[in-house]
Symmetry: D2
Subunit: 330 residues, 4 copies
């Protein structure tokens, strides 16, 4: 049984809180959030205690922290937890700045603590199965990967202005998935973005509609398409083409019900958004973290993965401006 603390009582923090509370191998001791009522709500539902950062850091019984607070607080919390030898699970991105990211990684390495990044999609049962079946040789050598990743609705202008932009907030997951599925590091990246959905994306110098191509040294290719609006629901599909076949993973729906009526055969829309669609993966990634910590194993998705995804985001920003393949230098 590992004692843990949670930073961040927002949407994703609540998801982690529920999974920590249910997990037989962990005791959720503390919840930290500047929004006292949000923290209290989670505390009430889980038996945890509302605390401040210092209390958590200074309590030696807390062996693991789960960081789901605002992005700008990640770096300080990572460095603080590492200094106290606590195992760290941190939502992506580590930091919007690569130099600051490197400081975090140095601190973690020096402390020798495990750090897992919240690339939950690797733990989605379907996506994880695709990876396993590639490894089992079912499609031979991977040649092309196609990632469809479309949100059901745009961010508000306020949220967009306060965040890192579409590549660093949304595509970052797809970049990690590209690396996960290609099985070889990308060396070049091309991106193009438009603002077709909401004018404030353009106003803020951002994109709401994007297409990307990555390429590895041996010539494997990956395409990502993004939009911030899919009126039919969260669209999350992957397709991997290899020398011996193709593996696809499709969307998930709330039910298996279809209606055959005068106007056609109608099936369910995909599950609405990430909380529903990736519910299994959030549970599985924390289980992986807790089990890794318990067994003294390095978690499968580590600091280097977080850093590389950020570098791909930077390359995408550069390419969308330059109109050319940008080199990827990890």
């Amino acid at each position: 049984m590992i004692d843990a603390a949670l930073f961040g009582a927002g949407l994703i923090g609540s998801v982690h809180a529920k999974n920590l509370a249910r997990h037989p191998g962990v005791r959720l001791r503390y919840v930290v959030d500047p929004r006292q009522d949000a923290a209290e709500r989670i505390a009430a539902g889980t038996g945890a205690e509302v605390a401040d950062t210092a209390t958590v850091m200074n309590d030696p019984s807390v062996k693991a922290v789960v960081i789901a607070s605002a992005t700008r607080t990640h770096a300080e919390l990572i460095i603080g937890a590492a200094a106290k030898s606590k195992a760290i699970f941190c939502e992506k991105p580590i930091d919007l700045d690569i130099a600051r990211t490197d400081q975090c990684l140095a601190a973690v390495e020096k402390a020798g603590v495990p750090l897992q990044i919240g690339f939950n999609r690797r733990f989605d049962p379907s996506f994880a199965t695709v990876r396993k079946r590639i490894d089992a040789g079912e499609i031979g050598a991977v040649e092309q990967v196609i990632i469809t990743s479309r949100d059901p609705e745009p961010e508000t202008e306020e949220a967009l202005a306060g965040g890192g932009g579409v590549f660093r907030e949304m595509t970052i997951h797809d970049f990690d998935m590209a690396r996960f599925l290609l099985g070889e590091e990308p060396v070049e990246l091309f991106a193009t973005g438009s603002s077709l959905v909401e004018p404030y994306y353009a106003k803020l110098g951002d994109y709401d509609t994007a297409m990307i191509i990555l390429r590895t040294a041996s010539g494997k290719q990956c395409h990502i398409n993004n939009s911030v609006r899919a009126v039919y629901g969260y669209d999350q599909r992957i397709e991997v083409h290899g020398s011996k076949g193709m593996l696809q993973a499709g969307n998930r729906t709330p039910t298996s019900v279809s209606l055959s009526g005068e106007s056609g055969i109608a099936a369910d829309r995909p599950l609405y958004f990430f909380v529903e669609r990736y519910a299994d993966s959030y549970e599985a990634e924390l289980d992986h973290f807790i089990q890794s910590v318990g067994a003294g194993r390095t978690p499968a998705v580590g600091a280097a993965d977080g850093r590389k995804a950020m570098i791909l985001c930077e390359a995408a920003l550069a390419s969308a401006k330059s109109g050319r393949f940008e080199p990827v230098r990890f």
Copy 2:
């Protein structure tokens, strides 16, 4: 918060134990099972206490009992719990004997306690959605129902010999589903059974392969097909035809992954068996029970439903012998 006790620490008892332990509105106090180690395993995982029947019945703080023990113990436990004014959730069937079933129902009625029967499939998200969409008028008047219900593997000869036979153990769920979907009581039933899978079904005078037709007073029809062996996994599908269209609910699969290879496009088999396939429904039916008890409401699936399903089983046994439509007299 309702204090509850669980009778039965077998496969289905374990499912209920886990759902009771997770439920925020209930505290699982006791587990009762003659197999001490099975009871202790559940107790260890849930914080409940291993107890005997008398302790549970005599503890006035226990407001609700969940009966998942062997079928032959159901009647006595129901009568005992009713006498102590405890709310009752009981797995189907109430009893293999209709007269004994009627004694249970009389005891429950006299005591005025809620009784819910474990027809969990009504709470399956897809099947429940079909019922809701029929009620919403999406397919007009129901005309025909088709229920496909096929187990992945036969029972062992020992289990079969000790149980109530395929109609009372397996088809009983389909009979409840037929009533649930037809929305009008069947008045006639035709059944035919064969033994094509395992010779011991015939040896024991039972069937491993069956087809049934039910008919209501207004002429609505329902077909059920059963087999005890579907090598591709648990096959549980429903199809409802109405004057304005058809609603179908299909199987569920572990992942959404498909492989396109030289020999075709291959998708997952359905989830293996009832524990996996109906996991959601087990959680939902207990939640319904607990909420009904808490709010003083009558649960949706009650004693009469359990009794009627048993009468349909009797009619099926009679028809499979007589080769004719048997009247259904509830």
Copy 3:
């Protein structure tokens, strides 16, 4: 090159005319129909000549006749063509009367001419493939067959009054399919029918909604469900369960297009009715007939099949009245 004549210039006659005109191994010489304009329309489109029955029968160059005229004319045309040693393709049913059917079969046998019955569905690419894959052992021994056969709209009251009723006009195809897929003759049949769609079905003593179960000597079972109204289009599906798996053949749609929109994922309705749905099978059955005639081979679907399907219709009529398994005596 075989010279042929067509009797009947109605809907199904037109389908055959088009396929005969296209076929490289046949020359369509004559079209016969009391409705002169209908015959002329077909003649104009195919290069055939409008003629009367005597002309066709007395022209020794006509080696094959295709009978797609009204059911009551079939017997006389079969007997006439047999007397002139012409190969015969005849739409089902041979005749509504079994004794008369037997006269036809005797005439054909005496003449030693090939006779093929228009059970076109055996030639549907999907259904034919199911049969081939059963024969290849892909699902082991057949145990249960489920046939869904639902027309998009009812017959008019006039057509219904003038025809043989729903079992002899519609279900007859399903009975042939049952025999085709079971691979063993049915020995018992149970049927129940209702009138839920149009009151004139009841008024005429007929059914618009029916369910049937057939059973073979070894205990294999087949279920058929029929309705004369499927608002979503012609619903023609088969499902065969065997000891090693299940083969299914589904509906066909005009396109592969789907729309993902706010209200769900919408696919095409099935093709509207038999002319569209079974277009391939009409072409294939005539090709089979012509090739059989050319090579002096007995066609695969012969007189006995037509007769047996009629006997199953009679058993269904009897069972729907008696409410019991009726014996099937071929």
Copy 4:
């Protein structure tokens, strides 16, 4: 009734010959091919006459020519037919050289004859339906198009060496489809290619695996993925995302049969290659040509479309070398 001649008796010429022979509005008079036996085979099956180019060109009764001969012969035949005022249907590409293409277009324009280019996929029932439903406003404004286009097997080294390369032979169809679906001309194009399938693609300076992004002036985007080897069969899918939803068109299969067995649910592979997959479209495009010629209407897919597709091929070749967005100058 229009008299027509066919140039080219190869694979695609045979497809056109069959469709011309079947068409009620056309009489196929001549077949021209330097391979005498190939021409004779087609002549025998269609009633056409084997002839040389001069005979065809000098026969004033020939009102239309269908050019399906080797690419290098297209330009001369177009110019020759235009000089004789014959309507022209020509397989893509017009010529591998843009200047030569322009000479053809000038000749055609001067002669005032109709010219249709063989972009058959626009006439595929599913793809044509997608276009119609976009026009009907079903998905609002188009934002992104995704085209999956993968051949079942690579060309031989000989064929590859003698042809125009993968972009001009294969992707050219996808470029036309991109223009067809975007509804706005692309202004920039990015392409990257690898040789992962057969080393002779690299040896010949060509690509067997490619990804492309096109972009219109308003920021609409289109992705194309190509491979010369899809072991599961010809993979031809389109996906169009708009402000109000997504339209998808999938592959077509020979049957609707699926097998549920111990290892999963297996469906048919897609139809093998273009002759099977696009059979309907070849028939429909010729029908469109013949009807346009008959009615004096300009065919829907004209010279400008052929030219623009070639310019996109040139841009792809340039981009695959430069690694940057290349401008598209029509």
